[in-house]
């Protein structure tokens, strides 16, 4: 189990928390216990042994979207509060404490390999042994299978031979809900299947899956022996190589919502915009916050399942930052889900590309 870094927790707990204005959770809930330092102080008291686990404390330290909005103003470059809180929560299982809001989803995840339940949908025939492995991700599979179809269409158009596998959830939901054993089991199973696939390049459209493969799998001793690439970078590469040619579509103006992980961890803020600029006849209008300063859609850390009201409130707050008459384009299945709620057109980048490819 990854250890809590007490020095970093102390840095946060003792700091005046100039970052709280960028924490979407405390801004929508108004609860001091969900401010960055509020959570850090509770985690510190648990770590000091002055506070015993109970559901109230676990719920408070679970109220982190992992969006790293706080990090944009943090004076401590080594501090990742989301990870410290995640590592703190892993200890709740030892204490026999779980969150009632998460337990049903953990049960579903154990049973079906997806927190959304039985997987449905039909994928193109497997090209076993193909060089490129497209990881669909359970959120896209459950909420927007069309985006996987769109990705497949793009790869076909580009002449890429690719394969899909009978994947399990990447394991991130299990980790954020405090069940590291389950997360490791899922990771081990995915690693086995990926290794056996014979692929040499893993493409993922979901930033949470990408983060889990690149950051958490090595921590769990499940490093994948395949090169991993984020969707935006891969599709841009295909465009630059001339393998995807783009044409006008019915959309004239779009705003790009930077998913937190792509923007702040993978630093992929120019790639999606270069893709958008490559589509003829498309105007790009930025929301108030963009690039690495983006604000969360409310979908991080599985909030759409475990804290749906908070997720929706965070999404509404983000939606207020967009120009009124544009379609929103994003590159994350959670962001799409969150930003859909007010009835605006929201597309994943792969879906926009699929309708723009010649």
């Amino acid at each position: 189990m990854a250890e809590v870094n007490k020095e970093q927790l102390l840095n946060c707990a003792l700091c005046p928390n100039m970052c709280r204005c960028e924490c979407p959770v405390v801004q929508v809930l108004g609860r001091e216990a969900t401010a960055p330092a509020g959570k850090a102080r509770l985690a510190l008291m648990l770590e000091q042994g002055h506070l015993a686990w109970n559901e109230e404390i676990l719920e408070a330290v679970s109220n982190c979207l992992g969006c790293r909005g706080c990090a944009t103003l943090c004076p401590f470059p080594e501090l990742n509060l989301g990870d410290e809180l995640l590592n703190t929560r892993l200890k709740s299982k030892e204490a026999g404490i779980g969150l009632p809001a998460c337990n049903p989803y953990l049960g579903t995840l154990k049973k079906f390999g997806s927190p959304y339940g039985q997987k449905t949908g039909t994928w193109p025939a497997a090209n076993k042994g193909a060089e490129v492995l497209l990881f669909a991700g359970c959120t896209s599979t459950a909420n927007n299978p069309a985006s996987i179809g769109a990705a497949c269409h793009l790869l076909d158009k580009a002449g890429v031979t690719f394969q899909l596998i009978d994947e399990d959830c990447c394991g991130y939901p299990a980790a954020v809900w405090g069940d590291e054993d389950l997360a490791r089991q899922l990771a081990a199973e995915n690693k086995r299947k990926m290794t056996e696939s014979g692929a040499s390049l893993l493409v993922t459209n979901c930033p949470e899956c990408w983060l889990t493969f690149t950051e958490h799998y090595p921590e769990w001793n499940q490093e994948i022996p395949i090169q991993i690439i984020d969707g935006p970078s891969y599709y841009l590469q295909l465009i630059r190589e001339g393998r995807l040619e783009l044409k006008e579509n019915e959309l004239t103006a779009v705003s790009y919502h930077d998913p937190c992980i792509w923007a702040r961890v993978a630093k992929k803020v120019t790639e999606p915009r270069e893709i958008l600029r490559a589509i003829p006849g498309l105007n790009i209008e930025e929301p108030y916050s963009s690039g690495e300063a983006t604000r969360c859609c409310g979908g991080g850390s599985m909030f759409q399942l475990s804290f749906p009201q908070t997720a929706a409130a965070v999404a509404r707050r983000r939606l207020a930052e967009f120009p009124k008459d544009t379609a929103i384009v994003t590159a994350c299945p959670f962001c799409r889900e969150g930003l859909l709620q007010e009835g605006r057109p929201v597309l994943e980048l792969v879906e926009l590309l699929a309708i723009s490819v010649k």
């Binding site: 003792l14 709280r20 108004g30 216990a33 408070a60």
Partner: protein, 487 residues
Amino acid sequence: MSDSIDTILQESYPDQVLIDDYAREAAKIVGSENVSINQADLLSTCRDYWPVNSIWMLEGAVPALPQLVTWPRSTAEVSKLLALANDKKIPVIPYGEGSGTLGGVIPLRGGIMLDLKKMNRIRSLDEENLMATVESGLNGALYEEQLNRAGYTGGHFPQSLRCSSVGGWLACRAAGQFSTRYGKIEDITVSLEAVLPNGTIFSGRSVPRTATGPRIDHLFLGSEGTLGVITSATLRIWPLPEKRYLASYTFERLEDALETIRLFMQAGTRPAVVRLYDAQETGNHFPELGNKRCVLILLIEGNTEIVEAEAAVIKKYVLARKATDTGPEHVENWLEKRFNISVASVLFQKGAVLDTIEVCTNWHNAHSTYLAMQKALLAVEGTLLASGHYSHVYPEGAALYMTTVGFPGDDKVNFYKNIWQAAMEACLAEGAAISHHHGIGLHRGLWMADEHGTGLLVLRRIKKALDPHGIMNPGKLGLEEARKWQK
């Protein structure tokens, strides 16, 4: 609580039966989702950024615990919640973002934390009269951001901008870093809406000035939650500045720089930022300038012609004192780093105790107060450093901001008390005021009688008249004894 958390300053609690009754009735007012006895909520609202809280945190202790947290969403709900608490004589502590530095929100006698963070709207933006009416729970940086998006600025930039609320600014009579141009919060405030302990709501009139007796709403500026709850305010706003001019100069002697500032302020200039650092702080904050000279940084902004004229006038006074022009880049550095105070977290972990003590001087004692406070602080056993800067200036004087760091060994709280005792005695002996903008809270209440003389009796009578049951933030502002802390 079955946990091993000490509550160091807890004096008492109201009977739990009263709290249970209150919780049931409050839920009818604000909804059960806005009333909490959740342990995480109680532990999180029990403190602010008073350094003593940090000392105790490292030891696994908290100052005191409330018994209930509630989140009103409107002035009407605040009114009902207060009337209910008044009826049951339960203490109420208004809570914003918890950025105070003097223990002002510690629930010494338990009771209710009235968290205002759900009152966070800008109710109106009056572009003709340049006023915004804003609810008190709105985070300061988010208030400024919303104004910026509409083309305006609120002109109020305390170092706590990102971690403080509009209500907190008003309740402690805050001052922002650009205050020499835009004014302190009392200059920016046109009117206030507040709720008295018995639930009475009143609003001041949003006109530039009145001669209709004392401004009752302005009585709440600096009241620190002891008289009632500030629920909204109408504040001045300004168009975003057309031009910004940055300059810095170094002086061999602090007193020469002070005299220069006096002259250009009395000549009528109003630069937004005027900050003068002693040699030690110059070396700490601007290492590229060394620690032998004192740096003055200036920022002028607003209408282009006025900015250029002010810059020319100030330059004339500065150069007449043989200052060295060190260019705009040091001001740019300051602008970039001005919200970074990570050093506090690091030093506390290393066993240090540090604090900042801001006072207000006139020009005639601006330098002597600095010398006296520095000498007094350095005389306290364990003190390693005592330095200072001047940050808010007026035609009549300036705010002096002393920073002190010590490594006292085990008895950190006693050391903390000793440095404050030394600093306050020196300040009072020089005739300076004991606070410029951090307020009083719990700790500085120890010197309120020295500061006010008979004025404190007047304040206490006002308190008694408005809050006869003493429910509002008891033990603060020096209005009554905080028994365990004063012991």
